[in-house]
């Protein structure tokens, strides 16, 4: 058998045509097989690569999620800072207009649990220089006054509470009058003791007069919303829409007046 094979090899060496023919047959057989094996190997290799990189991808995914969370939190902080910045800009404008003193910024931390009382608790107290009867404002206008102070917190009676009373001026386009604004308990304010002969118009701004010594003059309290003028009596009344959105307040400013 070995001799036959050796003889065949010798024949193939002597006759190159037959060698080329045999090589062609071999190529035709092995070519597709090689391609199939190579392709399947590439697929398996990719699969093995994915499996080995799965842990790495998961870690990468986790990092991306953390990054997204961080960016979202940053976005919230930026918006909060923008709001605070706007507040401060408006307050600066307000300070130019009226003669208010130094301000202490405070965060609203709680609301009065009793339904009949419109008050809230802020995170500043005597440690920050607060004392009772200091005015509390936002850039929109008057919010209330401090009524009780502890070292780290203070209770603020809102201007909408029935116990709150502020001496005010009402300056229309061609009129000027004064009165007292009290809370009604339902979120609006009642302007009282306005002489009947004085003109009141819807939308007239109501500002603090400074009488009483608690609120500095010129702070916006609200705008006239509805005039109630009776046929008899010395005075007329009006409902006033508060300038400050009392329900949504989160950051307020205490005016450090001299007591």
């Amino acid at each position: 058998m070995a001799v036959v094979a050796l003889a065949a090899s010798a024949v193939l060496m002597v006759f190159p045509e037959s060698r080329a023919l045999l090589q062609g047959w071999g190529a035709q057989f092995f070519g597709p097989a090689q391609q199939a094996i190579t392709r399947s190997t590439v697929g398996v290799g990719e699969a093995v690569g994915v499996v080995t990189r799965a842990g790495q991808l998961a870690a990468q995914n986790r990092n991306y999620r953390e990054e997204i969370d961080r960016l979202r939190s940053l976005d919230v902080q930026v918006k909060r800072l923008e709001t605070e910045n706007e507040d401060l800009r408006q307050l600066l404008e307000m300070r130019r207009r009226s003669s208010i003193g130094n301000l202490v910024s405070a965060q609203v931390i709680a609301r009065d649990p009793l339904a009949l009382i419109q008050a809230l608790v802020i995170d500043r107290g005597t440690n920050d220089g607060l004392v009772a009867n200091m005015p509390v404002i936002t850039y929109q206008g008057v919010a209330g006054r401090v009524i009780e102070v502890s070292p780290t917190t203070a209770k603020v009676l809102l201007v909408a509470d029935v116990n709150s009373a502020v001496s005010v001026d009402v300056d229309g386009a061609d009129s000027h009058t004064s009165g007292v604004v009290r809370g009604t308990g339902d979120g609006r304010l009642l302007l009282q003791y306005v002489p009947r002969e004085d003109a009141l118009h819807l939308g007239d701004p109501v500002t603090t007069s400074g009488i009483g010594g608690i609120f500095p003059p010129g702070l916006l309290v609200g705008t006239v919303d509805q005039v109630r003028s009776a046929d008899v009596g010395v005075f007329q009344e009006a409902l006033v829409q508060p300038a400050v959105r009392l329900k949504d307040m989160e950051r307020i400013y205490v005016v450090l007046t001299r007591q």
């Binding site: 649990p113 339904a115 008050a119 339902d186």
Partner: protein
């Protein structure tokens, strides 16, 4: 709490003990404190005032109903004290209101089957209205002008419904953790 329980039947009744189930007044006070904090710091931001339940009042009434007037009074005074820490109302107002409601709950419940949903529901309605009425009277007595308007009445109605639903939901739990008050009387009687 131990020596007090040994000396006095009333103390035993007020503070609770292992025989009366795992729910003691300490847990009630903790619940009242948490309730006051959550209501005043979180809920008012998310919900309209009428939709904020009065957790401290609910716990006071339930404790009074299941334990009697003295425990109800103690739980009420504690709730009143905690409320006054965050309220602008004069200190005495919440104390009087919650204390009276807790004691009343105990007195009234003594005449009925305490664990009955009808009794608890009725008591919660009555207690919420009583608490509002007493708040008005106490604030006026303290020199606070008040405005009882439509918004106030809506708030009263909504809170009454909400408090009643929550009290009814909590009744099975309180009943399981603080068994029927009938267990207390013989012990008190035995001491006497």
């Amino acid at each position: 709490m131990g020596p007090l329980n040994e000396r006095s039947g009333l103390g035993y009744q007020c503070w609770g003990s292992a025989e009366q189930g795992p729910l003691t007044v300490a847990w009630i006070l903790l619940g009242q404190g948490a309730s006051v904090l959550i209501e005043t710091t979180l809920l008012w931001r998310w919900l309209p005032a009428a939709a904020v339940p009065d957790g401290a009042l609910i716990l006071t009434v339930l404790w009074g109903a299941f334990r009697g007037w003295a425990p109800g009074l103690i739980a009420g005074l504690a709730a009143g004290l905690m409320t006054s820490w965050v309220s602008a109302a004069p200190l005495g107002v919440p104390l009087v209101v919650f204390g009276a409601v807790g004691a009343c709950a105990g007195f009234v419940a003594a005449h009925f089957h305490r664990g009955s949903p009808w009794v608890i529901g009725g008591m919660m309605v009555g207690s919420t209205v009583l608490a509002f009425a007493l708040t008005i009277l106490a604030l006026q007595a303290a020199g606070w002008p008040l405005a009882v308007n439509r918004q106030f009445l809506i708030e009263l109605g909504a809170r009454t419904v909400l408090n009643t639903i929550l009290a009814l939901a909590a009744t099975p739990l309180v009943s399981a953790l603080a068994p029927a008050p009938g267990v207390v009387s013989p012990v008190v009687g035995a001491r006497a």
